[in-house]
């Protein structure tokens, strides 16, 4: 092998020694119910973690689409798949007794980055923690929502500019401990695309963001130093190891082609992972512990940094504490006991891994070019191309499962008998009512004049952004946050100015 870890084109790793194993542990994406419920959960995690755990907030759907809990569309969804964060008060309650300088935190909330960024910033100010002492990770990747998860709010071009506001604000104001955006290909993969498509489409999204930031004067090398590609880690162990290697190599080649060798050498692709929750079955759920172990193994051998792992009860509901503890133990056993990750690229040189890496690199670059020929990712998504590729992949797999061509143990192969029912996570059944009360109490107690003034100012600033897409809205949203405006009030203003996108509905006749 002529390639070396930490050297261009970084196939064997973005650094000579491989990722710091400490990055793998104590990383959780969780939240449920109200801020008070999740604060309890976080305190338990915090007490059990060494060092500085990463407690990433899973927010509920109303928050993620910019709605207050009393909105008609929010009924039944408040605090359900994540924690309800309706205002600054909620984020303060979430970290009460923990301290924003003793954890890494952040959130996904891809359509609402312009809100979550000042939310964390103001929470720091209110609790006396300087921005430089906080480590905040914002996904702020709106493109993925139009294909994978469906929490988009605005027309796609507006969403891209709003997310770039956060990138620009963080780069200019908040310092290097804040990560303003990272590209997530996980949901496209979960939605049915292949390994090479995951790379090609993910890197196409990332390119869209680098270029949007460059239009605001952010140097590509600077942008890339604070971001990563968040991928799935799927069932085909060696194929996935090759996928991570191929993604780094393909990216280095693309960056060299676009921005030159110096940038490509300075900014290797960093990969983080959310292992394949879509492969976890509701049938015989203990089998998922073994599945998850192979997914984590692929990620570790592939030289990725953080690894988020869904619980083995993923297909049944939110994870229990036991299931979450097991996800961390899986990583620790693989590292401390099995010795995975004690050197960079432990499978480098394996004939099969090298061949797969070559093949996937080539295919990924072809998919990247397919998107480029369509005029870029915004067009490809708007035309429904990504959605169609995802659905086609999922349908193909389902037919393979039903014909028995593909065997999934416990599902259509091996022992498929009833398993002992598991304990299922029971959330706070009163979360919705409690959150309505919290927001009602906030509205009754806050001074109204500053809220009204801040929302009016936001409306004026947003109107300026219509004419000048580079006009940054983070400061104006920050003033609203400080005045205790709610997420729904802020996004009502923005929806009125920018309009909304219809969720991408596919007529049955065109389902490919």
């Amino acid at each position: 092998m002529t390639e070396r870890p930490g050297q261009f084109p970084f196939t064997r790793g973005d650094s000579p020694r491989g990722p710091d194993p400490e990055d793998w542990f104590s990383t959780y994406y969780s939240g449920a119910g109200t801020a008070t419920d999740t604060n309890k959960l976080f305190k338990e995690r915090f007490a059990r973690s060494d060092g500085r755990p990463s407690l990433l907030l899973a927010m509920d759907l109303p928050t993620q689409v910019g709605l207050d809990p009393d909105d008609d569309l929010a009924v039944g969804e408040v605090g359900r798949i994540g924690v309800a964060v309706s205002s600054l008060d909620d984020i303060l309650a979430l970290f009460d007794g923990i301290g924003l300088d003793s954890v890494t935190s952040g959130t996904v909330g891809n359509a609402i980055g312009v809100f979550t960024c000042p939310l964390f910033e103001r929470a720091g100010i209110d609790t006396g923690v300087a921005a430089r002492d906080m480590r905040i990770v914002l996904q702020n990747d709106p493109l993925k929502e139009y294909t994978g998860r469906g929490t988009q709010i605005f027309p796609i071009a507006t969403a891209l500019e709003l997310s770039t506001d956060v990138v620009e604000y963080v780069h200019r104001t908040l310092g290097s401990t804040w990560k303003p955006q990272y590209t997530c290909s996980t949901q496209m993969r979960w939605g049915g695309v292949s390994a090479s498509q995951e790379i090609g489409f993910g890197l196409a999204n990332m390119t869209t963001y680098v270029e949007a930031a460059a239009r605001r004067g952010i140097d590509p090398a600077a942008y890339l130093s604070r971001t990563d590609l968040h991928m799935s880690s799927d069932e085909d162990l060696l194929g996935e190891v090759a996928k991570f290697r191929a993604a780094r190599r393909a990216w280095a080649m693309l960056v060299e082609r676009r921005f030159g060798r110096a940038v490509a050498e300075a900014a290797p692709l960093k990969i983080t992972v959310f292992t394949a929750g879509n492969r976890l079955t509701a049938q015989r759920p203990l089998n998922n512990i073994v599945r998850t172990t192979t997914h984590v193994l692929a990620a570790m051998l592939g030289g990725v940094h953080e690894i988020l792992v869904p619980g083995y009860d993923e297909a049944l509901g939110l994870p229990t504490q036991e299931a979450t503890a097991l996800t961390n133990a899986t990583k620790e056993i693989l590292f401390h006991e099995a010795g995975i990750g004690r050197a960079a690229d432990q499978l480098g040189g394996s004939e099969e891994v090298e061949r797969l890496t070559d093949e996937l690199t080539e295919e990924a670059l072809e998919w990247f070019d397919v998107i480029a020929e369509k005029g870029g990712m915004v067009t490809a998504i708007s035309e429904g191309f990504i959605h169609a590729e995802m659905t086609a992949g999922t349908y193909r797999r389902q037919l393979e499962l039903e014909s028995g061509e593909r065997r999934i143990v416990g599902l259509n192969h091996g022992d498929t008998g009833e398993a002992t029912p598991l304990e299922i996570f029971e959330g706070n059944p009163n979360a919705e009512a409690e959150q309505l009360e919290r927001v009602g109490g906030l509205r009754a107690s806050r001074p109204e004049a500053p809220v009204g003034a801040a929302l009016l100012a936001l409306q004026a600033e947003a109107t300026k952004k219509v004419a000048d897409p580079s006009h940054n809205l983070v400061p104006a949203v920050g003033t609203c946050v400080e005045a205790r405006a709610t997420v729904g009030e802020i996004f009502t203003v923005l929806r009125e100015v920018f309009g909304t996108t219809a969720a991408p509905t596919v007529a049955a006749g065109s389902i490919a």
Partner: protein, 128 residues
Amino acid sequence: MARIVLAKPGLDGHEAGVMLIARALRDAGFEVVYLGPRQTPDAIVAAVIQEDADLLGLSILTGGHLTHSERVLAALREHGVDDVPLVVGGIIPPKAAADLRRVGVADVFGPGVSLGEASARIGKLVAR
């Protein structure tokens, strides 16, 4: 040809499952109208009436199945629609399936039901 309206109530946008079942039902000879995600009960019932649907299917993955089903059933009653069976698919724990049937859901499709089986069970409901 029997006509089926599918929708995702609430805010969840994960569409892979509902797209699969839409395609399978179409391949099984049904006419399928998929309304998309973020549908309110009123919008769903309006579509059922407008499309003269023979069956309504909801896809729910967030755990809000009982709330959403009850609201849609109430909206159906409110509009005098009493001959369109409602079925629900998604991440539905077995215990919850019984609750859903109790409130008036005609059939429940949790994880592991094959496309063929789902089509067959829906076909029986429509033929009634």
